[in-house]
């Protein structure tokens, strides 16, 4: 199992970035949904504190992942893609990176605008990105929720594309991101 990418396959490190972020996204949505249903209290604050910490973790992983990507050769899109498929692929990948950064950033800003500094799992406190401002908080809350829906839509496209490659084109696009599959 190679750590680095080749032109044919994503390396272990790239795969780890991908699937860890997938897992953390599932955790994020779960924490947010659980917190949303609760009235203001210790339980809600506790879930939101964890949601914020996981969010910052995702932000850091996305930055590291982009750095790793730029320092590596990356498996190209298959040759036989139609132009629209090529555009769709590039669009979803770029959109995913943008949204995966925009989500934690908007959340962090939202917390700053509320006047609740973000602590990473209680180890250290992050600086406030924006000044305290209730109107800004309300707007960022709406933005954060809206971007979440956009992210879900792009993920759906991404998954649909991966499945199409696997089951319709029968190429190795999905396989090369899966651990434990050799080809």
């Amino acid at each position: 199992m190679a750590l680095r990418n080749t032109t044919r396959r994503w390396g272990v490190i790239a795969q780890t970035f991908h699937w860890v972020i997938v897992a953390l996204l599932i955790v994020q949505v779960t924490l947010a949904e659980m917190a949303d249903d609760l009235p203001l209290g210790v339980r809600k604050l506790s879930l939101l504190a964890r949601h914020k910490s996981v969010g910052i973790t995702i932000l850091v992983l996305v930055i590291l992942r982009l750095a790793w990507r730029s320092a590596n050769v990356n498996p190209p899109l298959p040759d036989n893609l139609k132009p629209y498929e090529r555009k769709a692929a590039r669009f979803t990948h770029v959109a995913l990176y943008v949204l995966l950064a925009a989500m934690p950033l908007s959340g962090w800003m939202m917390s700053s605008a509320r006047g609740f500094p973000v602590s990473w799992f209680g180890f250290f406190t992050l600086p406030d990105l924006v000044p305290k401002n209730r109107a800004l908080y309300d707007w960022l809350m709406m933005t954060h929720h809206t971007l979440a829906w956009v992210l879900f839509a792009v993920i759906a496209l991404h998954v649909a594309g991966a499945l199409k490659h696997h089951f319709v084109h029968k190429d190795d696009v999905l396989k090369r991101m899966l651990p434990f599959t050799h080809h």
Partner: protein, 205 residues
């Protein structure tokens, strides 16, 4: 009488001298009278704040309505008494949801316990200033407390002002501020630092 004018002049001089001697000295810092000093807080130029930890990050709030009286027999607070009363329901952390939660029954329970009080019958001089030893009552629970502070007097245009500053650590659970789910301290820390910067003015008893 040949000396009448001289007598009158002498009498006038004596009378003038006596009057001047009896007049109060020009205003410098008036010394404490035999009855001691009684200082009262000037709310407009005073602040009472608290710092707490929320979800691991530091936050501050203030108590905008409180009263302070400081009485001492000698030239400085040593040997004096300090009374502080705080209107807890007026607390302000800059966030209405948080303030409402703090005032609720499981935390400060302001409907039942609208006032917090610090009553110190003993003030001693210390290396860095003074220390008031007394009873602190929050949410109906009274415990001993020692509060260090600095104090200096200043003459301000005919008024004697006293400047007092200090801080103390209060553990909210010691006073039952945190019942039910709020007994947990990971979201709302147990340690709260209360700090004050006061301007007091010397008043008549």
């Amino acid at each position: 009488m040949r000396y009448a004018r001289l007598c009158l002049a002498l009498a006038a001089a004596l009378f003038a001298a006596a009057t001047m001697a009896a007049a109060p000295p020009p205003a410098a810092a008036p010394a404490a009278t035999a009855a001691g000093s009684h200082f009262v807080v000037d709310p407009a130029k005073s602040s009472l704040q608290f710092t707490f930890e929320q979800a691991g990050a530091a936050s501050t709030g203030r108590f905008p309505r409180f009263g302070v009286t400081l009485d001492f027999p000698g030239a400085d607070p040593a040997g004096g008494r300090l009374e502080v009363t705080v209107e807890v329901a007026a607390l302000d952390t800059g966030d209405k949801d948080r303030d409402d939660t703090l005032k609720s029954d499981d935390l400060f329970a302001v409907k039942k316990f609208p006032e917090a009080r610090f009553s110190a019958q003993q003030i001693v001089k210390t290396a860095s200033g003074y220390e008031a030893a007394g009873k602190l009552t929050i949410r109906g629970v009274t415990r001993d407390a020692r509060v260090p502070f600095t104090f200096r007097e200043a003459a301000e245009g005919g008024v004697t002002a006293g400047y007092m500053a200090g801080k103390t650590l209060v553990r909210r659970l010691d006073f039952g501020v945190g019942q039910g789910e709020w007994k947990a301290t990971d979201q709302a820390g147990n340690d709260v630092t209360v700090s004050f910067t006061l301007r007091l003015t010397r008043a008549a008893h």
